[in-house]
């Protein structure tokens, strides 16, 4: 009975994995085929080849792009964690006039369609002289309603008695924030970090607008650079670049998962 249940459980897990992983595997397989094989609609490569990867690295400075993406995504993540957790802390633990109103104002920013902000923001960045610099790619993304909202939901799970106790024993708000709130919210912080990193890693239109120089451009631009309209795209090369762009994020996810689990065990609130 128990083993039957376990088996059924694993079968279900494997089935779901196959469905979820399939598109990724499909891309990987295509990146290892030559052009003719892809267009003939094969699924499994007949001749395995790495030519697509060579071509991808030759056509765009992907190495430099990868480093830029990494740096930008890392800085965005760091900034977001700090800015969002500070705001969320204020919204949950501090009592001050207009608190809820401010919260709704923050949430309202989530409603602004991003496309509507692109041009004015570009002009702002231009006025600040931040075009073609990392700072223009990073700072506009530090504040994020999603992050504040996520952490607020997490902080609300922390028993308020802890805060009251801390107040009584004279522990200041900021110390309480650093010593108690943040450690207890590791899970959500890691989740937000992983999300932010991937989100930043996947930006396309914004980096394209605010940069002109290969030295600060990011990997998604490289991906677009490999696709064409009037002349057939080399899909193998595009897929190879996609895999290259995907690999670091998948690795990070893997690492983040481990961290997540550790955080979960320590973070259990008693």
């Amino acid at each position: 009975m128990r083993t039957a249940r376990a088996t059924a459980h694993y079968v279900l897990l494997c089935l779901c994995s196959v469905v979820i992983l399939f598109p990724v595997a499909y891309a990987l397989l295509m990146s290892l085929m030559d052009g003719a094989a892809i267009l003939s609609g094969r699924l499994w490569p007949e001749n395995w080849t790495l030519v697509n990867y060579e071509a991808a690295f030759q056509q765009a400075p992907l190495g430099r792009y990868l480093w830029n993406s990494f740096f930008v995504a890392f800085m965005i993540t760091l900034g977001r964690l700090i800015v969002s957790s500070l705001a969320a802390f204020a919204f949950v633990f501090l009592r001050f006039p207009g608190r809820d109103r401010w919260f709704y104002i923050c949430i309202a920013t989530m409603l602004v369609p991003w496309e509507a902000t692109v041009i004015p923001n570009f002009l702002t960045i231009q006025a600040l002289g931040w075009t073609n610099r990392y700072v223009g790619l990073i700072v506009p993304f530090w504040a994020m309603a999603f992050g504040i909202f996520l952490l607020r939901q997490q902080f609300k799970q922390i028993p308020h008695e802890l805060y009251e106790e801390a107040q009584l024993s004279g522990i200041g708000n900021f110390r309480f924030f650093c010593r108690v709130v943040l450690p207890l919210s590791k899970t959500s912080l890691v989740t937000l970090a992983v999300y932010s990193f991937l989100d930043a890693w996947n930006m396309y239109l914004w980096p394209l607008l605010v940069t002109n120089d290969d030295r600060v451009r990011t990997v998604q631009i490289g991906l677009k650079q490999l696709q064409t309209q009037e002349i057939a795209s080399s899909w193998g090369v595009v897929m190879a670049a996609a895999v290259i762009a995907m690999l670091p994020t998948l690795l990070l996810l893997f690492a983040g998962q481990k961290q997540l689990r550790k955080g979960l065990m320590q973070g259990a609130i008693q």
Partner: protein, 439 residues
Amino acid sequence: MRKVLASFLTLMFIGLAAGCSNEDASKAAGGKTEVVFWHSMSGDLEPVLNDIVADFNQTHPEIEVKPVFQGTYEEALTKWNAVAGTKDAPTIMQTFEVGTKHMIDSGKVVPVQTWIDKDKYDVSQWEKNIVNYYTVNGRIYSMPFNSSTPVLIYNKDAFREAGLDPEKPPLTYSELKEAAKKLTKKKGKETERYGFSILNYGWFFEEMVAVQGGLYVNNNNGRSGDATKAVFNGDEGKRVFELIRDMYRDGTFYNVGQNWDDMRAAFQAGKIAMYLDSSAGVKTLIDNSPFEVGVSYLPVPDGVERQGVIIGGASLWMVKGSSEEEQKAAWEFMKYLTTAPVQAKWHVRTGYFAINPAAYDEPLVKDEWAKYPQLKVTVDQLHETKSTPATQGALITVFPESRQHVVKAMERLYEGIDPQEALDQAAEETNRALQGAGN
């Protein structure tokens, strides 16, 4: 406590500044004149362009051309709109052919004619049929660069299999219908191979109208005055739509949607036997298809005289606001681009036309044509084009929007709407856009 917070934030800024300060991209060009060149050449095109630019920079030590990829033509134009007239604007800007009027109206460009006159440059060496498109009110506004036209592509093996002569592709609508019927292959209820297909993309429709001598908008395609009304819903347009409707109804026409690569995939997988594609894509297609590929002219309705094709692709614009020195350097670069050896290289490696026909006499091109005789067909079709307002192409600012309406009309055709009704609606929506653009 607040101090901690403050120092925390400061630390963050410092870290950021350290990461950025040495990355400021404005590089002193060391006495060289810098020409920033924004382009949309992606995929296999970019390395070719970069090679040409590198050659130029090496042979012209006083000039440094910096090519910068700016995304698709639309994305590049969006960015250009935002920076035009500021110091962030490039010196040379590449824009697609339908953006021509938009660029002129912006008032932020210097007509290339200015430099042609200053330099007393002889433009008769340029391909007339290409230059025509970019000539407005008798002045050449931009330098044609990557130019292409649509051609009929067909599967020669399938022709043989269906008992058709692979050297005699269909030239008229009735021949096309006939051939498509023979090429369509059914297996039970499923159609294994369709005869013909056209991408749901406005460009192909425009070309099919122009080849019959039909205009797209009034006032001679907007060439003799601002266009105020769409006229593509006349007889010529109707013939094109009826052709699609009839063939679709017969089950010999395959709807490939609006993705170029989907269309090519369908052809290479043997799902369609004939279709329309850009001349620029011909060589890659021949290389990648598992069968023999034929190339021919656009078909015309029976009894209609063939007028020829409109040039497509993109051109290079000189941007106002750059210094005299930069413009001069940009002009040097443009002249270099049009020399026969460079054009020969460009034509052979990309498939785009040479804007300088002398390039076709270069050994490089001759060897290539011996290997790919199909390439010559694309050039012949261009050379045989009669220069009229119809083949010169329409000049309107709202072209991208109008194309959306035409695409929608094509899609509605597959839904069973009457061709005239679909066309009329697209024309009316284009009219509205044309009027809206007036303010």
